[in-house]
């Protein structure tokens, strides 16, 4: 293999969703040279672009509000496990980021000149700003991408997949990557590295994220020595679209419909059922994500599911005029999919949506490893055992901005970058093609099936043990050397690199879920129902000698009564 391509920068930002782009802007504004890279195209993939509507923030533009109320709701939703300092940062700094986004022209929906806010489940008042229609994520991505374009000092490179972080003397010194577009290895030297790679939704068969979010950031940080926290808490969004088949639309689109129009959740017998799980909705939208997911899956299990194995969601109480006023052109797109909401309910079911767990970090976004920072969904702990609606984009913006600031401060205090040691990764990428290699796309599908069936929202010891055994088999089939060749867009090589990370992260999630012998928030053990006081602890995963070790630490002393 030829020599790797080399680059040097002050701040390397990995991932170009909202968190990565905000981090890049903030570091560049502080005078740093920034390299913003993404495994797909810049500013197009990740979770941000898929956000449909709400961004939670105590702006108080319509209804009086204060960040402490938002903070209180965030901690309550987190079922006693939130990292207080991260949750506080999210809530306290949210308004400033939302206002800056407004000044950059994102186009938050307004009524009578004021930014308007929707009410979302778990909040004590209307607090969620948005961009019509169903355009929050694309508008946030586009706005930040154009600010990145206009900000001096940010070099961008897409199609660049980080294989591992580089380290010298215990410090992260940059990253070694595989350029998908050419097949060439690339070594980037940086004084500070920010991992903003999003979550792990791709581990699951049905998910609402982008196909490029397979927990790669968690894996590269773990291998670099940074601990992960709360990895058992995967958020399932209860009302992901299930049927009839819909294309050109995001599966979480029914969330905004419920914000604006309420809607009725019905079981296969066309009966309302959420009241049997403690939440009588009466046409409102108040059920939180963990309870909604549990209620739908339990109805299905009892033989009361909809034909495709979910629940019905009906907006048949709404007139055509009401629907058009609330969602304009979206109604035409539904029509093209043969869906007339005035005449029929649609079917919905839980879908993997967000990861509460992630890399452990302090409120400066620093990990345990010098030189390594994190931002956005890659950060674990802010949302505890269950995330409040609307907190994901807010944390992406706030944590991104903070990571950019901290990185800039580090850069100013450093003279020269430490030369990266990328030998291991370069050797890995030198692998010869394996002629007998299994089908990587099929392996990926097998992993997603295992995670969905056995490490989904409802878990048991037997299911989790079966999952760990399947994960072990996939790991063995994957082996230590990559498939494919060093050629442009060899997807078998990219899949191998992805699977290497996905298998590791899947194992952490399943192991942490097996160890937590109670039910809390998004982690529901059918064999161990009920939340136990002694489990008010966060689980921390580390990689030691190639094995995952999980320990416990007491959760922050929280005043808010956990539900």
């Amino acid at each position: 293999m030829t020599e790797p391509l080399r680059a040097e920068t002050d701040v390397l930002v990995i991932g170009s969703g909202a968190a990565g782009m905000y981090a890049a802007i903030e570091a560049a504004r502080a005078g740093c040279h920034v390299m913003l890279i993404d495994r797909s195209l810049i500013g197009r993939g990740g979770a941000t672009v898929m956000a449909q509507m709400t961004v939670a923030v105590a702006l108080g533009s319509e209804t009086p509000d204060h960040w402490s109320h938002h903070y209180h709701d965030t901690l309550a939703a987190g079922r006693g496990l939130c990292n207080e300092s991260l949750a506080q940062l999210l809530c306290e700094e949210g308004p400033a980021c939302i206002e800056e986004m407004d000044a950059w022209g994102v186009g938050w929906a307004r009524k009578d000149g004021r930014i308007t806010a929707a009410f979302a489940p778990g909040h004590d008042r209307p607090r969620c700003v948005y961009v019509d229609f169903l355009n929050t994520g694309p508008a946030v991505s586009k706005t930040l991408r154009s600010v990145v374009n206009k900000t001096a000092g940010i070099d961008r490179a897409g199609d660049l997949c980080v294989v591992d972080l580089t380290k010298s003397d215990g410090t992260v010194t940059g990253a070694a990557a595989w350029h998908v577009g050419s097949g060439a290895p690339v070594v980037i030297s940086a004084k500070a590295t920010i991992v903003a790679t999003g979550g792990l939704t791709r581990l699951y068969r049905r998910n609402s994220g982008s196909a490029n979010m397979g927990g790669d950031g968690y894996a590269i940080c773990l291998r670099a020595g940074a601990p992960l926290i709360d990895m058992e808490f995967v958020q399932f969004f209860p009302i992901g679209h299930l049927a009839p088949r819909l294309i050109g639309m995001d599966p979480i689109m029914w969330d905004p419909f419920r914000y604006k129009l309420g809607g009725r959740l019905l079981n296969g017998r066309m009966e309302e059922f959420t009241q049997n799980y403690g939440v009588p909705e009466d046409g409102r939208y108040i059920i939180t994500r963990d309870v909604g997911t549990y209620a739908i899956l339990k109805e299905v299990e009892a033989g009361r599911g909809s034909p495709h194995g979910g629940a019905y969601l009906s907006f048949q109480h709404c007139s055509e005029a009401t629907l058009r006023e609330a969602f304009g052109p979206v109604i035409d797109r539904l029509e093209k999919n043969y869906i007339d909401l005035t005449k029929m309910p649609i079917e919905v079911a839980p879908i993997a949506h967000y990861h509460m767990g992630g890399v452990a970090a302090n409120a400066r976004m620093e990990t345990d490893v010098p030189g390594l920072l994190v931002a956005g969904e890659a950060v674990g702990g802010a949302n505890g055992a269950n995330r409040l609606s609307g907190n994901a984009i807010t944390e992406a913006l706030v944590f991104g901005r903070q990571a950019g600031r901290t990185a800039a401060a580090r850069v100013k205090a450093m003279r020269a970058p430490v030369p990266p040691d990328a030998r291991e990764t370069l050797d890995l990428l030198r692998g010869e093609e394996r002629k007998d290699a299994p089908n990587t796309a099929e392996m990926l599908q097998a992993l997603q099936a295992t995670m969905a069936d056995d490490v989904g929202p409802l878990r048991t010891q037997a299911k989790l043990e079966r999952a760990l055994s399947h994960i072990g088999e996939l790991d063995a089939a994957l082996g230590a050397r990559p498939f494919g060749v060093a050629e442009p867009f060899d997807l078998t090589r990219l899949d191998w690199l992805d699977l290497r990370n996905m298998v590791m992260v899947a194992r952490v999630v399943a192991q942490a879920a097996l160890l937590r012998t109670e039910s809390r928030g998004a982690h529901q053990r059918e064999d161990l129902p009920g939340m136990l006081p002694e489990w008010r602890v966060n689980q921390v995963a580390r990689l030691k000698d190639g094995r995952i070790e999980i320990s416990r630490m007491p959760a922050a002393p929280i005043e808010v009564a956990a539900q």
Binding site: S40, L41, G45, M50, P138, R156, L246, G248, F489
Partner: protein, 112 residues
């Protein structure tokens, strides 16, 4: 239920070295061409290269290609139980199969 969509797909590393190859895909009403391409990777050939990030949400705008001669997104084009021709964008540099260089120059890797 046993209807088939036949996708004639461009395979090759550049516009002079390659050819259209046919793949038979089980057809279900409501599927997209992107669904068909993903099915081929899992069941026939994992080396088939195409871009996508979001899945059928038309959010990432990465899956633009030429389907039956029309420049269009694979995620919003319905798969149909007939022969369909799927090729890379004609006006962009071909990287491999259906992947073209669609990023603006300032968002590509540029190293000395």
């Amino acid at each position: 239920m046993s209807e088939i969509a036949t996708l004639k797909i461009w395979r090759g590393p550049d516009k002079t070295a390659g050819r259209f190859e046919s793949y038979e895909v089980p057809y279900e009403r409501g599927q997209s061409v992107l669904d068909g391409l993903r099915w081929i990777r899992v069941h026939k050939d994992p080396t088939l290269a195409f871009r996508y990030s979001c899945i059928n949400a038309n959010a990432c705008k990465e899956c633009m290609m030429e389907i039956d001669g029309e420049t269009i997104y694979a995620c919003t084009t319905r798969l149909e139980p007939r022969a369909m021709t799927v090729g890379p964008l004609g006006n962009k540099k071909l990287v491999r199969d259906l992947v073209t260089e669609i990023a603006p120059p300032q968002e590509r890797l540029r190293l000395k």
